[in-house]
Amino acid sequence: MSELAAFWSYLSEGPLLWLALTLAAYVVGDACFRWSGRKPWVNSVLIAVAILAAILWGTGTPYGTYFEGAQFVHFLLGPATVALSLPLFDNLNRLRRATLPVVAALIAGSATATGSAVAIAWALGAGPTQLASIAPKSATAPVAIGIAERVGGAPTLTAVLVILTGIVGAVAATPLLDALGIRDWRARGLAVGIASHGIGTARAFQVNTTAGAFAGLGMALNAIATAFVAPLVLWLFL
């Protein structure tokens, strides 16, 4: 074995290389986003994921090995969710004044997210397991997986659909809401948080801190709402 190959096998087995590459890929994705003039379709998560998937595929590295390093980043999702409490606290007064619109948007947004996903998948011929897996896809990942298990879905499939939903929401929200002429940052943020959980919330923070705070709130509220809406919608279709 050449020295280079020995060095590679040493590095690729440990967490250091994969942690460094995860941060590097994100830095590249974020730089692309800035160079593009902060265009919503230049999504830094999507670019970083594409770069890392290509590296894993090119080097024949299993995901488990990659995750040994990436888990340190992944772990921070929990503390980051707790950290959403600060923008929520900062916006508590405007939130109190908007209680009715928030509740109405939550019910409408959550029912649309679950109802239309199940209806479309059903119309296109998806089976009962797939319908149960797609129903909670707008909730944040741990909640969605918990609900999917309860209603007879496949947890891995739900995890994939949840992440895809987040990326779709993050990419589509700005052009969609601009086209609809909706300028209220509270409405924009809340709707994105309800429809596309944390990834949508991360995108909302890139645009506006009020939108970010309402997105974090939308994500938290829809985690609760989906637990009720998903079984109800599935009962209609199964």
Binding site: V49, Y66, L86, A98, S116, A141, A159, I167
Partner: protein, 117 residues
């Protein structure tokens, strides 16, 4: 920064414990988030103490989804024979949900006079 991180982890830990003990259908971090809002309300100075660290984390929130995103690429085959149907359902329903949610918010805010500022 270490104290702020400790506070975040403690709220998350308490959230996990409460979620388990009371069988609440919410993940520990979300319960922890609600608890920390309660702490900020009780001690507003605590919010200023937490601000630098939380802003640092939330400013790079996107980064934290990268490992899970890479995992999805490897599991894309679990979409199976229905991949196209499921993708159409995800895209259309997400776009519809954002439009309906934001539209309903604006309409109800106008009806109830819940304008901003």
């Amino acid at each position: 920064m270490i104290h702020a991180l400790l506070a975040l982890l403690t709220c998350q830990l308490a959230g996990e414990a409460i979620g388990r003990a009371l069988a609440v259908p919410l993940p520990g971090p979300v319960i922890g988030m609600l608890m920390m809002v309660g702490l900020f309300l009780a001690v507003p100075r605590f919010a200023e103490f937490m601000r630098p660290t939380t802003q640092g984390i939330l400013g790079n929130l996107s980064l934290l989804f990268v490992p899970a995103g890479v995992g999805v690429v490897g599991h894309i085959s679990t979409l199976g024979a229905q991949a196209v149907s499921l993708l159409i359902a995800v895209v259309v329903s997400t776009v519809l949900s954002i439009a309906v949610g934001a539209g309903v918010f604006v309409a109800v805010a106008r009806l109830t006079g819940a304008g901003d500022e």
